[in-house]
Symmetry: C2
Subunit: 712 residues, 2 copies
Amino acid sequence: MLILATALCMAPAHAEDGYELWLRYHPLAAEQATIYRSHATQLIIGSATPTQTVTREELQRGLGGMLGRAPPLSDAVTSDGAIVVGTPASSPLIARLRLDTKSLGNEGYLIRSIVVNGRAATVIVGNNDIGVLYGAFHFLRLLQTNHPVDHLDLHDSPRVKVRVLDHWDNLDGSVERGYAGASIWDWFKLPDWPAPRYTDYARTNASIGINGVVLNNANANSQILTPTYLEKVAALANVFRPYGIRVYLSARFSAPIELGGLKTADPFDPQVQRWWRTKADEIYKLIPDFGGFLVKANSEGQPGPRDYGRTHADGANMLADVLAPRGGIVMWRTFVYSQANPDDRAKQAYDEFKPLDGHFRANVLLQVKNGPIDFQPREPFSPLFGAMPKTSLMMEFQITKEYLGFATHLVYLGPLYEEVLSADTMAHGKGSTVAKVIDGSLDNHALTGVAGDANVGSDQNWCGSDFNQANWYVLGRMAWNPTQSSRLIAEDWVRMTFTNDQAFVKPVVDMMMGSREAAVDYMTPLGLHHQMGPGHHYGPAPWDASESEADWRPVYYNRADSDGIGFDRSSTGSDAVAQYAPPIAAQFNDVKQTPEELLLWFHHVPWDYRMRSGQTLWYELVAHYTHGVDDVQQMRETWRHLNGYIDPERYQQAAAFLAIQEKEAQWWRDACIAYFQSLSQRPLPPGFSPPQHSLKYYESLSFRYVPGFSSW
Amino acid sequence: MLILATALCMAPAHAEDGYELWLRYHPLAAEQATIYRSHATQLIIGSATPTQTVTREELQRGLGGMLGRAPPLSDAVTSDGAIVVGTPASSPLIARLRLDTKSLGNEGYLIRSIVVNGRAATVIVGNNDIGVLYGAFHFLRLLQTNHPVDHLDLHDSPRVKVRVLDHWDNLDGSVERGYAGASIWDWFKLPDWPAPRYTDYARTNASIGINGVVLNNANANSQILTPTYLEKVAALANVFRPYGIRVYLSARFSAPIELGGLKTADPFDPQVQRWWRTKADEIYKLIPDFGGFLVKANSEGQPGPRDYGRTHADGANMLADVLAPRGGIVMWRTFVYSQANPDDRAKQAYDEFKPLDGHFRANVLLQVKNGPIDFQPREPFSPLFGAMPKTSLMMEFQITKEYLGFATHLVYLGPLYEEVLSADTMAHGKGSTVAKVIDGSLDNHALTGVAGDANVGSDQNWCGSDFNQANWYVLGRMAWNPTQSSRLIAEDWVRMTFTNDQAFVKPVVDMMMGSREAAVDYMTPLGLHHQMGPGHHYGPAPWDASESEADWRPVYYNRADSDGIGFDRSSTGSDAVAQYAPPIAAQFNDVKQTPEELLLWFHHVPWDYRMRSGQTLWYELVAHYTHGVDDVQQMRETWRHLNGYIDPERYQQAAAFLAIQEKEAQWWRDACIAYFQSLSQRPLPPGFSPPQHSLKYYESLSFRYVPGFSSW
């Protein structure tokens, strides 16, 4: 051991590659470590179960890394500063403490500074092993963020039951809308090679409370349900299990035809039902705690129950009945629209699902994207939230930045998530927030959920950029508690990921908090949406009408012409506003009352329309685009002053990516202004620089091999 | 600094991920380090050029890592143990030493223990910066492998001029026959983000003398020649330049049509010639030291000069004339065969190119694969070697293990390379080895080359497995000197990559040295070849006739029937033997004289044919397959006893991969025996276990999403 230590002393510092994410456990500043050591003199923790074992290992790794040595394991509290970890059921010592753990539920925990056998101790207790693991991660976080630990009295438990990452990973190793390299699932080497990375993935998720993973793309390949692949899936499930993570699969609705050789996938067909039952038997034999299916049906070319004249409820319930006996659930996506339907795409999910309220089984969760279109930089909350009181709705947020700059733009999504969750649906009057729909409190639903579309890939830093890691982190933290402050979460993340130095933490958190609004401004200000390049979604293309389907075209959404710009969704237009609760509908229906940040989402507005600032719409549009670019320049400036606070590797990458972001923000601003000016026929307001190139130039740009789109 | 050191002392050991390859520079054993420190008391080295700077950095990194601290930089030798590094031109101090450096050439170096200013010093000297960098890496290797450094008198220079890695990387991020993840070239983020990995890639190549890189797949996409991509290529060239590495590109022969809008790509067409000249101007403006083009023409669907009735020489010379004024070269592949040609595929490259001997420009290298077919576990050397005395032939070896177990099989390719290079072509009588053809000494060629088809990808360990790194390493070392011993190179690699502990080094080197013969035995013994699964090349399929083209089918090559097995290439058959020099041809033509390891390559042999062992061919065939599996079991056994000598991460991965290799070796053995037995109609010789499954079972296996084949 001593030799090893010496060796370590002489070892050159390993170049930072971002792999450790927020679980770095690097040595704390000496004085800080000294204080904490007095609160970590011994560790009393069981190892009777796999989860207890990994909890012990995590505490030893974390405390050992931060304090220089892990506290010795012990069976009894014999000195001040003991850490006692476990459940009343597994530890007589803890049972004797008679702590009130009722409120903690299955996954909750308490962390308390108490006296045990006359010694000052910290107890980390839950009703189940998994709660204890979550508590251990929370305790480690307190040290990572330099919180005092001498008078702790914390208890916490998740407000949402199903907290999952949805991977859009294909079996060929590509990742739809993935910007962090190939899929992390090395299917070819599974089940024989359970790479250590899978364990670190599970640790990382457990540290933020994620308790489920959908392994494969919602645009599903039925091969995942073949015996060959189920064996591979089971190998991953075995790695994840100790960390409280259940495996889910995206199921292709037509699998009974493709794999079972049946003529139909009609959910009412007994053979189809039998096929799914047999398949479920097969799955649960391999994976006793299998979580269930995610289904994308009858949308964007996917098969589904509507192919047989059945409703989405018919399809979902058929699968739900198959899974119910094993405690499995169905997550059924409401992201449904049809190009055959001429109506406003923003209305179609509501029109399709609202009438089905109350028709879904108890083990079905409808997975609703945060907005009515598709993860745009800003959308109003989906009108489905609050509109289906008899149905469990789960939130689908996108973590991967398909519409927010891919891997290179620094855009912290916390404020976007917070904006949606704190939005008031007014479904039962004031205070009927989306968060209350999601956590089930508004309509008393027991089955609740939040899904994040993963930004994880095989890049060594997991997410394509170090700052993208923050979006994985905040998704987990807000899934656990949808009412949390995205700023406080950002601060935790910065401290855990980079440093506790306030001179770094403060400006970086400020930069992160402003970053999403900056992206909205340089991409789609004032309620504009879906203005990106066709197919690959890279860069601006407000002029584009090349897509085969009308509602895939930017022009369909901006509706810009010589008179004005914006999509009239008021009662004089598509009347999408009517899908909201009356007070909200009235507000959105009135151009004057509509929040200006959503103005062009709901209204077609003349170029000379007077904004609250007293300026014209045209002026404000140009001003917002310009402001977005200015913000990015300011971010670069901020970062320039932070050189030296962190390792050069991660500093340099962020600096290079910010330079790309500034270049592309300028491109967005200039291309959009050039196009809209060609229609508004108005001069640029004084003081604003003209686009760097002609509209022709921007229209001429085309891109191949854009990550996440062109299949590899 | 002290704080950092303390921090390091407390830092937990970073989990081994294989990223450091053989340039680990971890702390040496205390006593060894003490000795070396006395020979590294000060470092005298310039930094006037980028190459000098990286040489200094490498020495500081290496010595700092291995010895705990880097020797202080100094301008003069003031104490015993100084290290003096540079060229006579760049260092007056070195110039005064009047060392004889004539024999070193442009890239060579000498390392000598001498007295300078009355002090014991080590000098590392070359005529050019790049030679000095190579010398620095050699000196570091001496320490890494625990060689004494007190009485050094080494000088070395490469025997081959062009030492390149050919990447089969596509612009969409996939890698043809790649088993180490996606392409390491992140084209999308280039030129703005020159990832640090590119620098480590260049360092690694320079450490083994690689001086060129072909960035893109020989099945070329002409997009690489567009301004957008050339900018990206230039960014990589800038990273590689200080390390003496030139960038080459695979050029699609029809690019003038696809990019230039011409009607033809006829090499005799003035417009075509002008297009290439203009393109070359554009390239050299961005990349002044651009290396040249690799071309795969008129083979496997690629366009080429034959489309216009011109010869390969016509096509190659046209490009050569364009590049010659800038010192660029053309590497023209002889891997040419046509399914229209009914003749033995093994003969076609020779038939096509031999008549063109003497017709190629001086800056053309014909790139010849080591064998007549395609990188099989064992092939005879290509008959082109020795057959084209008036033409510069370069060797093409495959590093990526397309036919040798992909990422998971432990197969060290050194013995394969050595076997080919030491083969005697008899072109000018005895001793006319392939190595002498390659290093130009046989026919006095100045332009010489060795290419290795890279096994590098974006996997953190670069090569898909830690042991695959050895194949990258040995390719570089043997390209530098084709007469080196693959065993000594393996020993260097093991010491640099794992440990100097003889108890580990000896058995691992033995295991590596035997590994290729094991693969030959369990895949294609006794001269069998091309027996792998169709398309993806995964696993055995000796029965397969599903491929569209006859000469892609295993049955085409094994010719097994009730009478016997093997491809008659003697004078009674395809007469491929006649392509070799008379003495070799006579040997291969005679079934009795043909080495048994190549028996079925050249002859169709009855099942009861008596082998030298006295046993029948059928017996020996079964015995070889079985022996191959036994060898892998022995490798696993060897590895099992080596637990604890190295880090658990790399140990566990190798252990898991060896388990996969054993399973797949058994599969190869059983499937091939099952099939051949169905034809030989003979009982298994006593003592050999029957296949674990029926022939039907093995024939029923099919695979999708095999890495390196199905495009992502």
